[in-house]
């Protein structure tokens, strides 16, 4: 039975599908092929319901990555969720999630995208509330409702697509791109993508969704679900490049990147730090996408998926060993207690920072250099590079808190590095996050970008990273005689540490007045006047009439017959005298 658990079976299946998808994508990429499959489900009179699938190198590659990460995550959950009695439900939810992700990836049709999209929303809700405590419920509700905005936007976009007679958007994007309706569709799709990728007005759900089990965070909330929005916009990228949509998206995405980078520097929850770093990377993808470089966004999406999943898996291993504790103030000295996990953790952290020749370096460096040679204003430029520095800063802060010093948790602990199944799962991704970047770089870009920069600007990225790292490490260090730095600037750190108060705004702020109004309406209308004038009073009156009618029935038969005779007499009277 050891090899017949649901985890092992799904692992084998998924990894083999992933491998074949990868081979197919190579084939498609090299031969420059696209498969467009159309299956007519039903044909009624003049209307046909058609299911369409689009297979090109992008969808196949993304699919293979998603499947690979999913398979490793499932393999990893075999140990992580070992003591959970609902592990079967958990794995099935993850599989359903993967399924709807597949549907989303391969469909060039807004309806089937919506199916996959709603599937993602539903399953991610179920996964967030997997641990059934109040925190999870609240987080799940926030997640589901934020994503619902995007679902509604997609539905509206579908309604607007009716203008063109079909929902296969890929046929219309280029032809109709100057029309107002298409702009409207584009803005709605952008809204949907922003909710799914947690861009700035909707960011608060992503850190909240960390209430889910850690494998879910590794798969869903870092590498696949949140990148679904980016992927959707990659498909719609034509609409973004030549309109104000792209500019708006650039602003919001780079602000997201900035905000979450800052927030991660003030966060103390291990998973939330990684979630905020995901958010920052999503902002990076979105912003480079909004400038028109969709291939770069795709590239970063893939590499980011690799090392971020690894990072989450390491965090999961740590949390597992720390007995569910996620506060980084309780950690420390983990490099001594869990050397192998710490290695993976550091490698993925460095890949995130863009350490040369790791996965993140290729995509991130290229994005930044492309930003430098393109026409861009000072503000966006500042946001890009400051956020890059912040990324390194929070990574090193994390290293400082968790890896160095002594363990803060307590002398009685069970830290060890012998959870082999989890480690094996992590090793697979470790290799991928080392070689993945270069591999993808040579695959996706057979012809290198021509980037020509002065020496100082070329070194700007490096400089920013080194400075950020030093800053992050040193500023969180406290010694006996120095006050805590964020205590000195208390108000600012509270503001930045709670994501610019966005969680409050999108929960209490949204609900306060409508709820009050609802209470008023319920009290004075639903249970007040309308009940009085509608239900109760009407019923009372009808019953009264009924009683009166019964008074009329309450007579001898002769009275009724006499009434009839009187009526006949009246008729006769008319008959005779008119």
């Amino acid at each position: 039975m050891k090899y017949l658990s649901i985890c092992s079976i799904s692992f084998v299946n998924l990894i083999s599908i992933s491998f074949s998808c990868f081979l197919f994508s190579l084939y498609f990429l090299l031969n420059n092929m696209v498969y467009f499959i159309e299956w007519e489900v039903v044909s009624l009179n003049s209307m046909s319901i058609v299911m369409t699938f689009l297979f090109d190198w992008m969808s196949l590659l993304f699919m293979s990555f998603v499947l690979m990460i999913a398979s490793l995550v499932i393999f990893y959950s075999k140990e992580y969720m070992e003591s959970d009695e609902n592990i079967n439900r958990f794995i099935m939810l993850v599989l359903m999630f993967v399924l709807s992700m597949m549907l989303l990836i391969i469909s060039p049709n807004l309806i089937s995208i919506l199916l996959g999209w709603d599937g993602l929303g539903l399953v991610s809700y179920c996964l967030v509330i997997y641990f059934q405590n109040i925190k999870s419920y609240n987080a799940g509700m926030l997640t589901a409702l934020s994503n619902r905005i995007g679902d509604v936007a997609l539905l509206l976009a579908i309604a607007w697509m009716l203008n063109y007679g079909s929902w296969n958007y890929i046929f219309y994007l280029e032809v109709m791109q100057n029309e107002f309706e298409m702009l409207l569709i584009g803005s709605l799709v952008m809204l949907a993508a922003m909710t799914k990728s947690a861009q700035i007005p909707f960011s608060s759900w992503l850190p909240a969704a960390m209430a889910a089990p850690t494998p879910v965070s590794a798969l869903v909330h870092s590498s696949t679900l949140v990148t679904a929005g980016v992927y959707l916009l990659i498909r719609f990228n034509i609409l973004l490049s030549f309109s104000w949509l792209g500019q708006l998206l650039l602003l919001l995405a780079s602000l997201t990147m900035f905000m979450s980078g800052l927030g991660a520097n003030f966060e103390f929850d291990l998973k939330k730090i990684i979630a905020l770093s995901t958010l920052s990377q999503l902002g990076l993808m979105m912003s480079i996408l909004s400038m028109g470089f969709y291939k770069l966004a795709m590239f970063h999406l893939l590499t980011h998926a690799l090392f971020k999943a690894l990072l989450f898996m390491c965090a999961g291993a740590i949390i597992h060993n720390m007995n569910n504790s996620q506060d980084i103030r309780l950690m420390g000295g983990l490099s001594i207690h869990m050397p192998l996990t710490s290695t993976c953790f550091n490698v993925s952290n460095l890949a995130l920072c863009g350490m040369p020749f790791l996965a993140g370096f290729y995509s991130k460096d290229m994005i930044l250099e492309v930003v430098m040679i393109s026409n861009i204003n000072m503000f966006s430029f500042f946001l890009y590079f400051f956020s890059t520095g912040l990324t390194v800063s929070y990574s090193f802060r994390l290293v400082y808190y968790s890896m160095t010093g002594d363990l803060n948790c307590g002398s009685l602990n069970m830290l060890n590095d012998e959870s082999w199944v989890m480690l094996r799962g992590m090793m697979g991704l470790l290799i991928m996050s080392i070689i993945g970047g270069s591999m993808l770089n040579w695959l996706i870009f057979p012809i290198p970008y021509m980037i020509c920069l002065p020496k100082l600007m070329k070194f700007l990225t490096l400089f920013v990273c080194i400075f950020g790292g030093l800053f992050g490490y040193l500023i969180s260090m406290t010694n006996l005689y120095s006050l805590n730095k964020s205590l000195l600037n208390y108000n600012i750190s509270v503001f930045l540490g709670s994501m610019w108060f966005m969680p409050y705004i999108s929960t209490y702020g949204m609900i306060f007045y409508p709820l009050n109004m609802g209470q008023l309406v319920v009290k004075s209308f639903d249970q007040g006047w309308s009940e009085y004038f509608g239900g109760q009073h009407l019923y009372q009156k009808l019953v009264n009439y009924s009683q009166i009618l019964f008074l009329m029935h309450n007579n001898s038969l002769k009275i009724y017959l006499m009434l009839f005779v009187f009526w006949i007499l009246i008729l006769l009277n008319f008959l005779l005298f008119m």
Partner: protein
């Protein structure tokens, strides 16, 4: 004008009969009797009418048959009522 006389008398008699039928009586039997009276008036009226139609008065036989049946039925109900109620007072009926 003379035509009105043919049917004004039965009409008045009919109305009186109707009143007799529905006005409040003690006994059911008196109601049945007044019903017979109405039937007689109707017979009279029908007779006048049939005289107009070339004295084709065979229908009056049928009418008489029906009215007798009806009277017999009324009487049988009366008997049935006396068997169940013990009297033929109209007021002993339940209302509703």
């Amino acid at each position: 004008m003379i035509m009105i006389l043919y049917w004004s008398l039965p009409m008045i008699l009919f109305i009186l009969g109707l009143f007799c039928f529905v006005s409040n009586r003690k006994h059911l039997l008196s109601m049945l009797l007044s019903l017979e009276f109405i039937v007689l008036i109707l017979f009279f009226m029908l007779f006048i009418y049939l005289n107009m139609l070339n004295y084709e008065s065979y229908f009056s036989m049928m009418f008489l048959t029906f009215s007798v049946c009806e009277g017999a039925l009324g009487l049988s109900i009366l008997v049935s009522m006396i068997r169940t109620h013990g009297n033929d007072y109209f007021q002993s009926f339940n209302i509703m």
